[in-house]
């Protein structure tokens, strides 16, 4: 049979342990959540970089701009020269063809 003092001691130690366990669980949970967030952000970035690699690594000449700051299309230049040399009828042919191909 426990006396009053012993009972009180038991009660005090029990509540202390309970509080300590709760504190430990909440601290562990914080780090578990932090770890999950870190890993998920990492996975998102890895996935995004692989997607980016697939999409942005297709290079076309029209995407490139030369130092003068304008897109230069060689065949367009040739068409302009031809247009300069063309007679009125030929100019019409070039215009019609360009309109059809726009």
């Amino acid at each position: 049979m426990l006396n009053k003092r012993q009972k009180n001691q038991r009660f005090v130690s029990y509540t202390f342990l309970e509080k300590k366990r709760k504190a430990q669980v909440s601290e562990i949970m914080t780090w578990v959540v932090a770890t999950i967030i870190i890993l998920s952000i990492l996975l998102i970035f890895v996935y995004a970089s692989s997607l980016l690699a697939q999409k942005t690594k297709i290079i076309k000449a029209k995407d490139l701009k030369i130092d003068i700051g304008k897109e230069v299309d060689l065949l367009e230049t040739k068409n302009l020269i031809a247009f300069d040399l063309a007679s009125e009828n030929e100019e019409k042919i070039i215009k019609n063809w360009e309109e059809e191909n726009e």
């Binding site: 780090w31 770890t35 870190i38 890993l39 990492l42 996975l43 970035f45 890895v46 970089s49 692989s50 980016l52 690699a53 697939q54 690594k57 297709i58 290079i59 076309k60 000449a61 029209k62 490139l64 060689l74 065949l75 367009e76 040739k78 068409n79 020269i81 031809a82 247009f83 300069d84 040399l85 063309a86 030929e90 042919i93 070039i94 063809w97 191909n101």
Partner: protein
């Protein structure tokens, strides 16, 4: 006191593991980005078109070697690659299977429907490979570019349509 020291060590271990995971993640990001090669086939095809166009026409006039007294000459197309400084040689990976194709169609400006002369070189099987992509673009099929321009032969005006196709999938797509 002992517990505090133990907790500190545990946290250090945890941070070390997290550091390793983050480092691994960064490595994975860089690796996944750089393991994909640049797909320059369309750029290469456009460069080939420019090279051919420059060879065929200068200052609005068609190359005189294209013609003889009767009309279009058959000699120029025979040595077209040498005449236009084109090199279709490829690495050993594709030896025996040409990776390039081009076709040039000449149309008289009076009739833009029917071609009057044609020059083509390379692997003609690539045309079918390229045609598949009319509705949807596929990564592993051959890439092609088609462009055209007008030029003169004396008084006649011609429309020159150039189609270039390049396969080289292994080096451009992963």
């Amino acid at each position: 006191m002992i517990n505090k020291k133990g907790g500190g060590k545990l946290m250090a271990m945890y941070w070390f593991v997290i550091l390793m995971i983050v480092a691994g993640g960064i490595f994975a990001m860089v690796y996944s980005f750089y393991q994909h090669p640049y797909d320059v086939r369309e750029l290469e095809a456009e460069m080939m078109i420019n090279q051919i166009a420059d060879c065929l026409s200068s200052k609005g006039e068609l190359n005189l070697e294209l013609f003889n007294e009767e009309g279009f000459s058959e000699e120029f197309p025979e040595n077209f690659l040498e005449n236009c400084h084109l090199n279709f040689e490829v690495e050993e990976v594709w030896e025996g299977e040409p990776q390039y194709y081009f076709r040039i169609d000449f149309y008289n400006a009076i009739n833009l429907e029917n071609s009057v002369f044609e020059i083509s070189k390379g692997n003609s099987n690539l045309v079918a490979d390229w045609n598949i992509q009319e509705e949807k673009e596929y990564k592993r099929t051959a890439k092609g570019v088609e462009d055209s321009f007008f030029s003169f032969n004396g008084e006649d005006m011609y429309l020159i349509k150039i189609l270039t196709i390049i396969k080289k999938t292994e080096k451009n797509v992963k």
